[in-house]
Symmetry: C2
Subunit: 206 residues, 2 copies
């Protein structure tokens, strides 16, 4: 089973963690599953929803894919060195993605190199202050690192994960299922086009 | 404050409850807020995520807006008469909406009259077995009742709630914020067009 850690901190944005995890979990029958991965047994969302973590933060080190969610307290997260040190990621072995302010975590972990990123408007100045260029786009990937900006772009991040692990047909099947009724083809086309990132086709091999 | 109950049962689909609640909660500063409303102190999603309810089921009777979420156990819900009896809704006073299999709950509560609905493909035969016509569309509203089909159509349900309570400008502002970066206008246009429902403009008065 290919396992995905959806890293979710206190103050998290429900859209960012749950759109990605719910889309990916539609592939459980095909060998891909996602877990809400948290630094404490429970975390509370930006809207006061208390959620039990499915995996502890240490799971991120062993997962095949790690997605860093977003929220209103990401600046506290990156200022917390002991917390960041618990996130031991390896882009040579893992697919790593960020949603919105999650890009700031990737920057602090030194995972971005010279790669430009996508993030949300609120996070943008903080990401730029780390010397990282921000694109006016919803999704950008280079090699095993991907970044998405704008809450609903979390469907593009999930599309990238599914495409990279199971292939484009699997991603299209999920998008077809979750799309608004009657908007199936356009929803899938839009996500697959966006998750192609930077004009390069996404690899369909795991 | 205008209050929205997002009714969420065991086995719920995270997309359905959290997309609607997160979009609506962006309007908290404008006097509109949503709460995950559950029949027990905690509920567990179809993917095993345990979530603490923010309001008990009885809150649905006093809320201004009630949205019935979807999940893999809605048929158990509608077979549970004591549980259904706890959902005391009044379409003369409340805006009432359903997401995917939530339409089955509206049918069992006798709220649909002759109105056709939107739902997902899996729920469709069960809704039709109640004598309700299902549309090949993502969203349909008549008066104070709205139905959405396809997980990601939950953004249209939220758009309807925001438009009906705060007006179209407020809905557009939320959609602009949550859209994938660079897809702001098209995301808002698509949702506002869909939530107009059946060709009739949605009323912008509360």
């Amino acid at each position: 089973m290919v396992q995905v850690a959806v890293v979710t901190f206190d103050g998290f944005n429900e859209l960012d963690s749950f759109i990605a995890s719910a889309l990916i979990n539609r592939c459980r029958g095909d060998g891909l599953e996602a877990f809400i991965t948290t630094p404490a047994p429970t975390v509370t969302s930006m809207n006061g929803v208390e959620v039990g973590g499915q995996r502890p933060l240490g799971f991120a080190a062993e997962a095949d894919v790690v997605l860093i969610g977003s929220g209103v307290r990401t600046r506290d997260v990156v200022a917390d060195s002991p917390l960041l040190a618990r996130l031991s990621l390896d882009p040579a072995r893992q697919l790593i993605g960020s949603q919105c302010s999650g890009a700031l975590v990737l920057a602090h972990l030194g995972l971005l190199g010279a790669m430009p990123v996508c993030t949300d408007l609120t996070s943008r100045p903080f990401v730029e202050a780390r010397g990282v260029r921000v694109l006016d786009a919803p999704f950008h990937a280079e090699g095993n690192i991907a970044t998405a900006g704008g809450c609903l772009a979390s469907q593009y991040l999930a599309t990238w994960v599914i495409t990279r692990t199971l292939g484009e047909d699997a991603a299209r099947a999920v998008l077809d299922y979750v799309a608004p009724v009657g908007e199936n083809g356009e929803t899938a086309d839009r996500a697959l086009r966006a998750a192609g990132g930077g004009g390069r086709p996404v690899s369909v091999s795991a």
